[in-house]
C-alpha cells in the first residue's frame, strides 16, 4: 500500500495540547516536514518560547531547549556560536518576539545570526488568556483592551517583517499565512527557504506566520480564519520583505 500521508519523523508521538482549530499545529507540522525533507533532524536544535508553544520541546523530535520569555534569539545565538555547523531555530509568539523580546530579535537580526526564526503572529497573548499583544490590531478587543485597542493610549501594532527588512543582517523576512491550502504551501516553501538559508550561511531568516487563536478571539476555527483574512491581511500584507543574504545592500 502506498503511504500518501504520514506524521513527519521530526514530530514525536506526543499529542498536541493546542486548542481545536489553532494554527500552531499546522506550523509545527510544516517545520517538521521541512526538517525531514532537508534531512537535518540529527543536527537541529530548536528553541521553544514562553507562550502557547512552550511545550514544543515535547513535539519536535530534534534536541530542544526552552528559553526565558522573549530570549529565544539570544539562547539560539549562544547555541549557534557554540555549534556553528548545527541548525538552530526558534519558534516564537508575538508577545515573546515583538514585546518582551524585541531587543533580542532586532539585535540577533542585526548581527546576522545565522539562525531561523518561526514567528507566530496571532495578534494576542494566547497562553495567558487573551491580553493585548504588540500585534493586536487597532480597536481589537482583548482582555486588557476591553473597549478595543485605542492607539492613542496603547499605541500601534508593530509590523515585524517591515521592521526587520531594514536590518542588514537579515537574509529573509517573509510574511505568510496558513488560512488555506495555497497559503499553507507558500508558508512551507518560506520555512524551507529559511532553513536552507541557514545551511547556506546566508544570515538571519524569519518567517512570520499569520495565525489564529480561536479560543481567545472567541470564534469558531472557521470564523477565525475569515477574521484573519478580513482584518489581519490588510494590516499585515503577505509577501517577501527581504530575500537575499546578510549585508547584501552594502555590497
Amino acid at each position: 500500500m502506498e503511504v500518501i500521508f504520514k506524521k513527519p519523523h521530526a514530530l514525536t508521538d506526543v499529542p498536541f495540547h493546542y486548542c481545536a482549530g489553532c494554527t500552531h499545529g499546522i506550523v509545527h507540522r510544516l517545520v517538521a516536514e521541512v526538517i525531514d525533507e532537508l534531512g537535518i533532524e540529527g543536527k537541529t536544535v530548536g528553541v521553544s518560547p514562553v507562550g502557547c508553544a512552550v511545550m514544543c520541546y515535547d513535539y519536535f523530535n530534534c534536541d530542544v531547549i526552552e528559553a526565558p520569555h522573549g530570549r529565544a534569539p539570544a539562547v539560539a545565538t549562544g547555541i549557534k556560536r557554540a555549534l556553528p555547523d548545527n541548525v538552530v531555530f526558534t519558534y516564537q509568539g508575538d508577545g515573546d518576539l515583538a514585546a518582551i523580546g524585541t531587543a533580542e530579535t532586532v539585535h540577533s537580526a542585526t548581527r546576522g545570526e545565522n539562525i531561523t526564526v518561526i514567528f507566530i503572529n496571532n495578534t494576542i497573548y494566547g497562553m495567558t488568556g487573551g491580553q493585548m499583544a504588540p500585534t493586536s490590531l487597532p480597536n481589537q478587543v482583548t482582555q486588557t483592551t476591553p473597549y478595543g485597542r485605542d492607539v492613542n493610549t496603547a499605541g500601534y501594532p508593530i509590523r515585524v517583517c517591515e521592521l526587520l527588512s531594514n536590518v542588514d543582517g537579515v537574509a529573509l523576512a517573509q510574511r505568510v499565512a496558513v488560512d488555506c491550502v495555497k497559503n499553507v504551501n507558500i508558508a512551507k516553501q518560506a520555512i524551507k527557504k529559511a532553513f536552507q538559508n541557514q545551511i547556506d550561511k546566508k544570515g538571519f531568516s524569519i518567517v512570520e506566520v499569520l495565525s489564529t487563536c480561536p479560543t481567545n478571539w472567541g470564534m469558531s476555527p472557521v470564523e477565525a480564519l475569515q477574521w484573519l483574512r478580513d482584518n489581519m491581511m490588510p494590516y499585515y500584507p503577505l509577501g517577501v520583505y527581504k530575500d537575499g543574504e546578510k549585508g547584501d545592500r552594502l555590497k
Binding site: 543536527k43 536544535v45 530534534c62 534536541d63 526552552e66 545565538t77 549562544g78 556560536r81 557554540a82
Partner: protein, 353 residues
C-alpha cells in the same frame, strides 16, 4: 610556563577562563569589569573562540544559557547593576541544571550606585540570584592569584554538579595588579555532557533542556532532588582560610578585598598583644560553617568586616548559632575600610577604644 607575571585582576580572570577551556564569552560593558571583556575581545578571535558584545546583560546571560546547554564552557561577566539584569537567566540556568560561570566585579549600590568597589551583592549572590529555590556556587577571591585559581575550580565544580558558579569579586580586586602564576595543570579529559542539546545525530532520543514543570508534584520532586545535590555541595565544597586563629580570643571574619584590610589590621593588633585572628570564607555559598563552628568554643567575640551595611554577618551568626557576640564594622557605597579603622574596631572588642 610556571613563572610569575604581573597582571590586573580583571585580565587574570579572563586568562584563567581561557586556560580552563572557556571559548565562549558573552558580555555587556560596565565599570569596573571593563578590562575583562576587553581582554576576551582581544584573545578570543585569535584562538577560535567567541567574544560577543550583547545588546544587554539579559541577552548575554541567555547566550550563556544557550552555549552552555550546547555543552561548551561558557561565561559572562558584569558588575552589580548588570548582575541584577542577569538574575532572570541565572534562575533559568539553575532551573535547567546547566553549568556556567558568572563573574561579578562588584561596585557600590543600590540603583546605579557608584563605580567604586563594594561587597554589597553578598545577599544577592548567596540568597537571591534570581527567583525560585536554587543556589549558585559562590567563590570570593582575595588576591589576583586566587582569582585565577578559583576560575578553574568554578568551572570544574560547575560541571561536576551541573550548576552555575559565580566569582564574587569587586572593583578593587579587578583593578589591582599582582604577580600571578598559571600553574601547569594536569590535562583532565573534558567531562561528558550527555544531556547537552547538540543534535542527536540520529543516535539517541532527543534531549530537552527545560525548567517548566506544570505539575506541582513533579516540580516539587525536582526541587527536592536538586537540594539533595546542594546538600552534597554543602558537605564537600566549603572552603576557608584561617590566619592566626589558633590561640585567638577574637576572630575577624572577612572575605575578598575587605579580608586584605582585615589581615593587616590583625597584624597590627597582634603587635599590640591582642589575640586576634582572621577567618576568611573562600566559598560564600556554601558558607564555610563547619570550619567557623570549630572556633566557637575558644572565641570570645567575632567581628565581621564587610564593604556593605552588613550582609555576610547573617551567615556568621547562623554558623556560630549566635553563641558568641558578632560585632560589625563596614564601609559601604564604594568606600574601602582603612587598616586603622578595622584595627580600631578590633580594639573595641576587648572593651578598649
Amino acid at each position: 610556563m610556571s613563572e610569575k607575571i604581573l597582571m590586573k585582576g580583571n585580565e587574570a580572570l579572563g586568562e584563567a577562563a581561557i586556560q580552563a577551556g572557556c571559548r565562549h564569552f558573552f558580555g555587556y560593558p560596565i565599570t569596573p569589569q571593563t578590562e575583562l571583556a576587553a581582554y576576551m575581545s582581544k584573545k578570543m578571535p585569535k584562538i577560535g573562540g567567541t567574544y560577543l558584545q550583547a545588546e544587554s546583560e539579559i541577552a548575554a546571560i541567555n547566550m550563556v544559557l544557550g552555549a552552555a546547554s550546547a555543552g561548551v564552557r561558557a561565561m559572562t561577566s558584569s558588575s552589580s547593576p548588570g548582575i541584577s539584569l542577569k538574575t532572570e537567566g541565572i534562575s533559568y540556568i539553575a532551573g535547567s541544571d546547566v553549568p556556567a560561570l558568572i563573574i561579578n566585579v562588584q561596585r557600590g549600590g543600590p540603583g546605579l550606585g557608584g563605580i567604586q568597589p563594594s561587597q554589597s551583592d553578598y545577599w544577592q549572590a548567596t540568597r537571591a540570584a534570581g527567583h525560585g529555590d536554587f543556589h549558585l556556587l559562590v567563590y570570593a577571591p582575595s588576591t589576583v592569584q586566587e582569582m585565577v585559581d578559583l576560575v578553574f575550580l568554578a568551572f570544574d565544580k560547575g560541571d561536576e554538579y551541573r550548576m552555575p558558579a559565580m566569582i564574587l569579586a569587586d572593583g578593587m580586586l579587578g583593578q589591582m595588579m599582582e604577580p600571578v602564576e598559571f600553574k601547569e595543570r594536569e590535562q583532565k579529559a573534558p567531562i561528558e555532557k550527555p544531556w547537552a542539546v547538540n543534535g542527536h545525530k540520529n543516535e539517541r532520543p532527543h534531549n530537552i533542556i527545560n525548567s517548566l514543570y506544570l505539575d506541582p508534584h513533579e516540580l516539587e520532586n525536582l526541587n527536592i532532588k536538586r537540594f539533595e545535590k546542594y546538600k552534597r555541595v554543602i558537605e564537600n565544597e566549603q572552603k576557608s582560610v584561617e590566619y592566626m586563629t589558633q590561640d585567638a580570643e577574637y576572630i575577624v571574619v572577612a572575605f575578598g578585598a575587605s579580608a586584605r584590610v582585615a589581615h593587616s589590621a590583625v597584624d597590627m593588633a597582634r603587635e599590640q598583644g591582642i589575640k586576634v585572628g582572621l577567618f576568611r570564607p573562600v566559598t560564600l555559598w556554601p558558607f564555610p560553617e563547619k570550619a567557623l563552628k570549630t572556633t566557637v568554643e575558644s572565641t570570645k567575640k567575632y567581628l565581621c568586616v564587610e564593604m556593605s551595611m552588613g550582609q555576610m554577618i547573617d551567615d556568621v551568626k547562623l554558623a556560630t548559632e549566635c553563641r558568641r557576640p558578632v560585632e560589625f564594622f563596614g564601609r559601604t557605597g564604594g568606600v574601602i575600610p582603612t587598616v586603622d579603622e578595622v584595627f580600631g574596631a578590633i580594639k573595641k572588642l576587648g572593651g578598649g577604644n
